[in-house]
Amino acid sequence: MKEERKHPLLSVIDREAERIKHNPAYRFLLFGGPLIGILLLFFIFRQGAVKELPLAVVDQDHSSLSVKIINALNSSPDVEVVFKVPDLFLAKEMLEKGQVDAVVFIPENLEKSVFKGTKAELPVYVNGTNVLVSGLIQRSVLTTLRTVSGGIQLKKLMLTGKNKQEAMTRVLPINIQKHVLFNPYTNYSYFLNSAMLYVMLYLFVLLSSIYTLGNELKRGTGHSLLETSNNSVRLAVAGKMFSYTIIFSGFAMLINFLLYKMEGMPLNGSYWVIFVGQFITIITYQLMGLIFVGVTINLRLALSLASAYSMMGITFSGLTLPLEAMPKIAQWFAALFPFTWWEKIMISQSLRGAPVKDALPYICYILIFQLVALAFLKVYKRYLENPKYWGKK
């Protein structure tokens, strides 16, 4: 033994570094995995707003009005006319093959009826399979066609001798002024991207923690660990977690950089709350490794359960469908994931610019998970000491 012994905490940190060096799985959980996951998600959501969804137009009128309609559709930002077909059957086939997402049917004599002032219908068929896509198409196509229709009305009114102001009032008696709060670009990407990047981060935090805690049991190295930490399970766990906390905090800052600098996501609240929030959430998920290992005493089962748990956290964070829209039981269930609370901190601070005090209850909820996890420290020590619990597959 050396004369001046290092502090046990430092020895555990050194010991963990050795383990990371010698096992590729650790390195993947700490470096490769989060990096690949974060970058892939970042590129998926990179472009921000969705654009240019394909349309088919069935033009049976062949008039200047139908040309006008097609041009108007083409110049609208979300859709593009990719096919012009002579009949509805062909268009339907394209819809069914997935080549187009909607069909605009311009019937024979549309122009004639419009100018004669008789009933003129313009049916639009939208594929509703994907709610997101069909919502965008409806918004875009309806706005465009209503503008065309309004233009015709305006022209006719002016022909009857009204001035432009009068005609405009008739076409649009009440105007809606839209004030979009907090996410002025109405950008779905900010919302999904910010949430998914953190899902990825916390997933790796939890898995890596379980992996390293569980491996001590699987390999039966508990005694060596406790020896290094001077028989203190608190120091042992703290030492093992330390390098992970630092590295994952680094990844959290990478996410901050990608979101705020590269994507230009608004940061209306306090960055410090976000920073502290993500730091606390990282430590929470690390400590929750103790719960999973403590309950299962089986590395593989713990990893399986933790994966299932993390994946469910996505749905119940209100990311895809807001929590208010879910049944009460699902809303209760959602409270069992630190991620739900983190998501509230993120959105209220980043997008809404809520006051700092609004974030405090959420942070407290996250801390409760830490307390529960700390209760498992003693249990973990017992497992480390007793060979009965080792070597479980």
């Binding site: 998926i44 709610v131 997101l132 004030h179 994966s307 997008l351």
Partner: protein, 398 residues
């Protein structure tokens, strides 16, 4: 022991491997949890989360500065929509802001003073919407409802003015809307969220649980496990194909259970759209399963430890889901990533599957995808077999 296996022909060896693999699956808690447990639980939990299908009765506040019959009618129309509910009528905007910040309401509609007067005297007037866009679906609903209410209300006003000029009601209606745009939303007219996301999500779950489960049961050459082969080293070459297909057969059997549950029962319980011929669905899912299983067996050979399957593959699950284009349109994903995403069978099968089940098209409309899936299965099978031959030869030469 070896003697018994040495006398077997290929088919018998395959049967022996199917039995062996199934036994391994059913005696492993972790694998059972992923391959069967997850498959049983996920669709139910997710379906409960999405049970309400659409968002209804979102709370908004209306600041009515006009207090007239017209403004009350406008407010009433907003309240009557299925999506929004007017829960507060704050006296002014700052009161509304407080309600908003404390999360009581998620949007505010402001009706200005003089609203009715302007409407009646033929002047243009404004209505303002302050909507929270930090949750996308909430914003979308508020905007859509207000746009619809406004269109109806304005339409009514416009019709009245034409009638005041002496036009008949019918004529006035046509004059105020020369082109009558009629939207028909096909296949999922209610815009229901569960019906939209669940069918595809179930396939992604089948894929991911298979990939992880196969890896979890052990790479065939993993150092922590005994050799999976039954024959002695020098005879193993003839065992590779029976081994591979035996293993595949075991997972096809497991998957059939999962399909019966996820694709038939869950759809039935939650009444998800089902316009397809079940035979067509199975015809499409068969090459999908083969591709996934061969990919899984190939990947499993890369893992040294069995738990590595989770470590290396779980994080791909949400990514695989987004790459199918369900929660995020493919048109918004960069091209190189779309090409790369073809590695995952789910990218190809989900859009085709949704066309079958939700749109009710026939197998002929998805033949491109069907072909791609068989091609994929073929490529993964050949690559895996080739790799096995190399390993077996190396082991024999040693």
């Amino acid at each position: 022991m070896n003697e018994k296996y040495n006398k077997m022909n290929g088919w018998e060896l395959m049967a022996a491997h199917i039995k062996k693999e199934l036994k391994a699956i059913f005696s492993d808690g972790g694998a059972m949890l992923i391959l069967i447990g997850a498959m049983l639980i996920y669709p139910i939990i997710y379906s409960i989360g999405y049970f309400n299908e659409t968002m209804t009765e979102l709370s908004v506040g209306v600041v009515d500065l006009d207090h007239t019959e017209a403004s009350r009618k406008y407010t009433g129309m907003i309240d009557a929509s299925a999506e929004l509910q007017v829960t507060y009528q704050p006296a002014d905007l700052s009161q509304a802001e407080n309600l908003f910040m404390s999360d009581e309401i998620s949007g505010v509609v402001l009706i200005p003073k003089g609203f009715q007067k302007d409407v009646l005297s033929g002047k243009q007037t404004n209505v303002a919407l302050y909507a929270d866009a930090s949750y996308f679906l909430k914003y979308k609903n508020q905007f859509t409802v207000l746009a619809t209410v406004n269109a109806y209300f304005s339409g009514g006003v416009s019709v009245l003015r034409y009638m005041a000029e002496g036009k008949s009601f019918e004529q006035a209606k046509i004059y105020s809307n020369p082109i009558d745009v009629q939207t028909h939303v096909l296949y999922n007219p209610a815009g229901a969220y569960g019906s939209f996301i669940m069918p595809g999500l179930i396939l992604v779950i089948i894929q991911q649980t298979l990939l992880i489960g196969i890896g979890l049961l052990g790479g065939s050459f993993s150092e922590s496990k005994a050799s999976p082969f039954l024959l002695p080293k020098q005879n193993r070459r003839r065992e590779i194909i029976p081994y591979l297909f035996g293993k595949t057969g075991a997972y096809v059997i497991i998957s059939l259970l999962n399909i019966g549950y996820g694709v038939v029962l869950v759809h039935h319980w939650f009444s998800y759209p089902d316009k397809a011929n079940m035979m067509d669905v199975l015809m499409l899912l068969f090459p999908f399963l083969l591709a996934v299983i061969f990919l899984g067996i190939g990947l499993s050979t890369l893992f040294k430890h069995r738990e590595s399957a989770i470590v290396f593959m779980v994080f791909l699950s949400p990514i695989a889901l987004f790459l199918t284009g369900m929660s995020w349109p493919v048109s918004a994903i960069p091209d190189w990533l779309v090409t790369l995403s073809k590695i995952m069978p789910s990218t190809t099968v989900v859009p085709a599957y949704l066309r079958l089940r939700t749109m009710g098209v026939g197998l002929a409309e998805v033949k491109t995808e069907l072909f791609t899936l068989y091609l994929q299965a073929g490529i993964y099978a050949v690559l895996t077999t080739a790799y096995f031959f190399l390993r077996v030869r190396k082991a024999r030469l040693k």
